[in-house]
Amino acid sequence: MRKRIYYWTDSKHINKPVISDTILNTGVKINILKAKVEPQEAFLILELFGSKETIEKALNYLSKFGEVEEISKVIKRDLEKCVHCGCCITQCPINAIYMDEDYSVIFKEEECVGCKNCVKACPFKAIEIIE
C-alpha cells in the first residue's frame, strides 16, 4: 500500500539521517516529494510504500524524531471558474494534473499531496485546498 505524510523533524534531530535510518530499520520504501530544511526544523512531504505492517513500523519510527501527520487534504476545483486553460498542469510536482483527449484539464485528486503549487498558478483562482 501507499501512504502520504507530512513530517516535521525537531531541530535536535536535524543532523541525523532519520529518513535513511527509517528505510534501513523497517524496509519501507520512501519517496521524498518535498523537503524544506530550516535552522529550527525540517519539513518534508513523504510517500511511503510497503505492506500495511511495514508502513505502520515506519510511522512509529519516524514519530520518535518528529511529528507525523497523514495527508488528508482534498483539492477542490470550482468548475464554474475553471476555463481548462492548463496554466496549472506543469506546476504539479507529482504529475497529478493533465489534459485529456477532450482538452479538459483533469486532476487526479487521490494523488494530490496538497502542495498548493497549482493554487498559486491558477489565473482564475479556481482551486482551493481544504484542510
Binding site: 476555463v83 481548462h84 496554466c87 506543469t90 506546476q91 482538452y103 498558478a121
Partner: protein, 507 residues
C-alpha cells in the same frame, strides 16, 4: 464558386452547411478539397485566451449638476478620463489603486463584474467649469445604468503565439504563466487549427482570404466587428482590432484573470465565420495543429530579442510533453519536459460550436468585408539601452584569495570601495568580500579570506541591461554585483550608487 450573398440566402432558408474548423479537417481529408468546397458553406473558428490589449469605452450619462470627469475609478481601478465629460476607457490590464489588492482585482475584473450585472462603484473627480460646476461624484452603477459600454480591443486574436521556456536557475513569473527553472516546462498559447486568422491565411501573399475591416464576428458571447488590423499586426503573427457591445456579452466568454506576479488580464472568446467561396479557402480551413509552426523562446533572457530554443508545432505542444536540446551550465543536454497551455482549447471549441449554432439557427448572417486588413508592422522601439559594461568602474579592482584580511581591508580603504571580488589566477571569480565581512572577521577572530568570503556570488554579465541588474540588486537586497565576461572573468563591479546615478538623472 459561391458568393456571400448566396450563402446568406441559404442561411436564411436554414439550408446552409456550417461546420467548425475541426470538422472541416476531417471533411477535406475524406472527401477532398473540391467536394468540401462545394458542400460546405461556412467554417466557424474560435479562440479563447488572455488578451491584455482589451478594454471598454463607457459613457456614464450626465449627473445633475453635471461634472466633467477627469480622474475616474471603477471599484478603485482607474479608467482613462482624458475624453469628453462622462466618457472613459477602462483597460483590462490596469491594476487596482490599493497596493494590497493590486493585480488581484484590476480592469479585467471590473469588466467581468459589469458583464455579470454586478454593481460597480464609480468615483470621479473633475475640475469645475461654468457648464460643469460639480467637483466629484460617487455612485453605484450597473451595466444597465450606463448609456454605452463599447468594448474596443486594440489587439486580439493572435494568429500564433510563440511558446515560452526559462533558462534561468529560478522560477520566473510571466504573462505566459509560471516558468520553471532550467527549461523545466514549456508554456504555449493559441487555438492553432481552430484559430480564426490561421484558417483564413494565405501564406504566399501574407494576407487574409475573407477576413477584413467590417467582418462580423463572435465577441465575448455577443456580436462584434473587426475594425482593422490589430497593433503589432505582422502575419503570420497577425492580430485584429475589434469592437463589440458589452451589454450583449456573456460572462462565460469574458473572464477576468490574474497572471501570478504579472498582471490582470482578460480572457476573451472570439470566433469568426469563414465563407467557403472557393477551393483555396476550403483548403486552408483544413489546416491542422501539426502544420502550424510555433517558435519556443527563452523568457529567462529579459531582453526584447529572446533566444530561440526550438521550433515545434501545436500538435506536439498539446501532447503534454516535448523534448528540447538545451545547454545547461555549459553542457548540451536533451531534456523532455511538460508542456502547459495558457489559453483554453476547450473554450475555443465552445466558441466555434456556439457560432456554428447561431448560423444554423439563422441568427447570424455573414458580412462582406469593406476593406482588407492594413499593413503589417512590428518594429522595435527606439529606446536607448544602457548595458552594465557602459557604467562599470574600470579597471576592475580584484584580489587573489591568499592575501590577508588586513591587506583586503587596505584595498577597500585605498580605493574607497565596499566590494572586493576574489579571483583565481586566471581572473575568474571565486568569491566576494565586503566591508561587512571584514568587520565580521574581526569580531569573530577569523584569519583567512577563504573563511569569510561569500562563494555563491550573484553576478551580472557585462552585456546585461542595467535595468535588469538593478532589479536583481533590489530582489536579493545587495549593494554591489561583480560583473563578469563570457569566461566568468571579473571585468568590474556595479554598485547601488552607480545604479542610482544612472537612474537618478532620468525621471
Amino acid at each position: 464558386m459561391k458568393t456571400i450573398k448566396e450563402i446568406n440566402e441559404k442561411i436564411k432558408k436554414g439550408e446552409a452547411v456550417v461546420v467548425t474548423a475541426e470538422e472541416m479537417i476531417k471533411i477535406v481529408e475524406e472527401e477532398g478539397v473540391k467536394k468540401a468546397a462545394d458542400y460546405v458553406d461556412v467554417v466557424t473558428t474560435g479562440t479563447f485566451g488572455a488578451m491584455c490589449s482589451s478594454g471598454v469605452f463607457i459613457n456614464f450619462g450626465h449627473s445633475d449638476p453635471p461634472i466633467k470627469m477627469l480622474k475616474i475609478y471603477l471599484n478603485n481601478v482607474e479608467a482613462y478620463g482624458g475624453l469628453a465629460a462622462v466618457d472613459a476607457y477602462i483597460g483590462a490590464a490596469q491594476p487596482n489603486e490599493d497596493p494590497d489588492i493590486d493585480i488581484d482585482y484590476g480592469g479585467a475584473h471590473v469588466i467581468e463584474d459589469l458583464v455579470r450585472g454586478k454593481e460597480v462603484e464609480l468615483y470621479a473627480e473633475g475640475y469645475t467649469t461654468d457648464c460643469y460646476p460639480r467637483k466629484d461624484v460617487n455612485v453605484k452603477i450597473t451595466l444597465d445604468d450606463v448609456n454605452q459600454a463599447i468594448m474596443v480591443n486594440p489587439r486580439n486574436c493572435y494568429q500564433t503565439y510563440p511558446a515560452a521556456t526559462n533558462s534561468r536557475d529560478e522560477k520566473i513569473y510571466t504573462y505566459m504563466g509560471i516558468l520553471l527553472p532550467e527549461y523545466n516546462n514549456v508554456h504555449y498559447s493559441g487555438a492553432g487549427q481552430l484559430n480564426p486568422l490561421q484558417n483564413d491565411y494565405n501564406p504566399e501573399t501574407k494576407s487574409f482570404n475573407t477576413i477584413g475591416i467590417g467582418t462580423k464576428i463572435f465577441l465575448g458571447g455577443g456580436i462584434g466587428y473587426i475594425i482593422g488590423e490589430g497593433t503589432q499586426h505582422n502575419p503570420p503573427f497577425g492580430t485584429l482590432m475589434v469592437k463589440g457591445d458589452l451589454k450583449q456579452m456573456d460572462a462565460r466568454f469574458i473572464r477576468a484573470a490574474t497572471m501570478p506576479r504579472y498582471g490582470s488580464t482578460l480572457y476573451i472568446g472570439l470566433g469568426i465565420p469563414i465563407p467557403i467561396l472557393n477551393e483555396k479557402i476550403a483548403e486552408r480551413c483544413a489546416i491542422k495543429d501539426e502544420d502550424i509552426e510555433v517558435p519556443i523562446y527563452d523568457y529567462g533572457t529579459p531582453r526584447r530579442d529572446k533566444p530561440l530554443i526550438a521550433k515545434t508545432n501545436y500538435k506536439v505542444l498539446r501532447s503534454g510533453k516535448i523534448t528540447l536540446n538545451v545547454n545547461i551550465d555549459g553542457k548540451d543536454v536533451e531534456k523532455t519536459v511538460k508542456t502547459g497551455s495558457v489559453s483554453s482549447y476547450k473554450m475555443a471549441r465552445e466558441v466555434a460550436e456556439t457560432l456554428k449554432q447561431w448560423i444554423l439557427d439563422g441568427k447570424f448572417l455573414l458580412t462582406e468585408r469593406v476593406g482588407k486588413l492594413g499593413r503589417a508592422e512590428n518594429k522595435p522601439m527606439k529606446s536607448p539601452i544602457t548595458l552594465v559594461k557602459d557604467i562599470l568602474s574600470k579597471p576592475p579592482i580584484t584580489a587573489p584569495s591568499n592575501i590577508t584580511i588586513m591587506e583586503a581591508a587596505k584595498i577597500l580603504i585605498k580605493h574607497n570601495i565596499n566590494h572586493l571580488p576574489i579571483v583565481d589566477e586566471f581572473g575568474k571569480l571565486i568569491g566576494i568580500i565586503t566591508s561587512w565581512d571584514i568587520a565580521k572577521a574581526l569580531a569573530q577572530n577569523k584569519k583567512t579570506i577563504e573563511e569569510i568570503m561569500t562563494r555563491n556570488v550573484i553576478t551580472a554579465h557585462e552585456d546585461e541591461p542595467a535595468d535588469h541588474v538593478a532589479r536583481k540588486m533590489s530582489k536579493y537586497n545587495i549593494s554591489g554585483i561583480p560583473v563578469v565576461d563570457d569566461y566568468k572573468r571579473v571585468v568590474g563591479v556595479v554598485t547601488s550608487e552607480d545604479i542610482s546615478r544612472l537612474f537618478g538623472g532620468k525621471k
